[in-house]
Symmetry: C2
Subunit: 305 residues, 2 copies
């Protein structure tokens, strides 16, 4: 009944006998609790968030529904282990194009251990986080032909320039081949996916307004998941574009201060997406990704950072 | 004709034969160029900014007017030295209450030397910058009686908690004694100074809108100066409240990305000031500053960091 999620683009994955999340047919996502503090922090966050009356109703849709924790046989065969039981965000989508964007120019925080701070400080400087205020942790993009799926290695998308991120955001909403390095993205789904009153940009702006005000949580090292269904766009012209927040293993209390690190990075991502809507033709001819970046992830890559 | 500015609250100061800025009677402020790269970066910024047609007119008012550079006898007696010639922002104010707020949770940037990065990384963590997204670099607050001036030591205001910053922002706009540790700030000038269509909050929001969009400059280690004239408030009810940006020795090109570090910190400052307007009675009774923080700066302190 439990199986390995097909459409995971970032984070630990359960393939090759590793520890990772599982899904079932009823639309639930089971995320193994990390044994250290991260597991308990994430449970504490979901528990607090679920019952916090200071969180406005219109903000709850950006977070996966939470159904408690459950002991399950872990995917690595190590026996029973507690799992977070969450909504499977992908279950209703047939050919989901997905982007996992880790928000913030820094992923560390004052309360972390010195080792963790130094590790993150180094990674933030080596990745796009420092320059862009976010880094792409992973993505997959379906072509118009559903047999075509672009899912580059996670490592290859974490250290991109601004122009490369623009190119990837355009590939994400184009009808042209995502895997062909010579194809120029046509952005033909940009308005449908990014634009409009219920598109990705409108949702990101709704989130931004909350982050300008909320001082409850600081979402360190948290990701914005951007997703839509390529099949629905092609068949119905309505992509079901969604913004979701995931990964709360490093949340700390806001203590009366806004999450200025998350907000700054979110505003940077918003600016990139706005530009594609207002100037879809800029940059596209000037940049191409290196060949190595375009190769698809293989099973052996699935646990590589 | 040249003299030492009376109302400088942060930065290098020219007292005690040190190198620092000078002013004249015509409303100009002469800032000595630092001999290293910082001097040339600041000249380059002012030169670029003055002629950059991508900067909207309504944004120029937030920056001091720039009149080129001039060789002048340095305040430390070391001979002729190039100085930036700028608008003296204080010259028209009789009893200016001033706050210098260094914006951003980090003051370092990728292009800086490793030594500089490590020095700033340490200072940002030790000060309020990391937690609040900004730190107060210095301030002075006049009492209703103009002979009363509160000008705490710079070091004592750089590492404040959120509650202490709230208290200081309230003292800044109160009629109660700023130097008396037992007086509870009454926020009686909060609306006049912070509120209204031309108050500090409206000006900060105008700046914020620009930072959400502009990708020309990253203003590393730059300060927002918040100032108003206590005498004008008391006599005319119009404080001439002004927001200015100063200190551009660490500006780098934006290269198509917004300054997410500055923007996040600015949004945090905006949230603090908004709260004082909407809930002036929160917190004030719960916090008091330590005695040592309240003592006035003496001449010997004037160059202490």
């Amino acid at each position: 009944m439990l199986k390995i999620p097909e459409h995971q683009v970032a984070g630990h994955q359960a393939c090759n006998g590793q520890l990772g999340p599982l899904i079932d047919d009823s639309g639930r996502f089971y995320k193994p609790l990390q044994g250290d503090e991260r597991g308990s922090v994430e449970v504490a966050f979901y528990t607090s968030f679920s019952s916090n009356t200071r969180v406005p109703d219109h903000i709850r849709k950006f977070f996966p529904s939470f159904y408690g924790t459950q002991l399950l046989e872990a995917s690595d065969g190590s026996g029973l282990r507690p799992h977070l039981v969450l909504e499977d965000l992908i279950s209703s989508l047939h050919h989901p194009s997905i982007m996992d964007v880790k928000i913030g120019s820094k992923t560390w925080y004052a309360e972390a251990s010195e080792d963790y701070i130094q590790k993150c400080f180094k990674k933030d400087r080596e990745s796009s986080s420092l320059s862009l205020g976010f880094r792409i942790s992973g993505l997959q993009v379906y072509g118009n032909n559903h047999s075509e799926l672009w899912k580059p290695k996670k490592k290859s998308v974490q250290n991109l320039t601004a122009d490369e991120v623009r190119l990837i955001l355009k590939k994400f909403v184009s009808s042209t081949s995502p895997t062909d390095p010579n194809s120029v993205p046509d952005c033909s789904f940009a308005f449908t996916v990014f634009g409009g009153s219920s598109g990705i940009l409108a949702q990101l702006l709704e989130l931004k307004a909350w982050f300008e005000d909320q001082t409850i949580y600081h979402l360190n090292s948290c990701s914005v998941l951007i997703l839509y269904d390529k099949e629905s766009v092609l068949k119905e012209g309505s992509p079901g574009a969604q913004v979701k927040l995931i990964d709360f293993a490093h949340v700390v209390e806001g203590r009366g201060v806004i999450d200025h690190n998350f907000l700054g990075g979110l505003c940077s991502l918003i600016k990139f997406i706005s530009e594609i809507l207002t100037s879809p033709d800029d940059y596209s001819s000037k940049v191409c990704l290196q060949d190595s970046d375009l190769s698809n992830c293989t099973t052996e890559d699935c646990n590589k950072k």
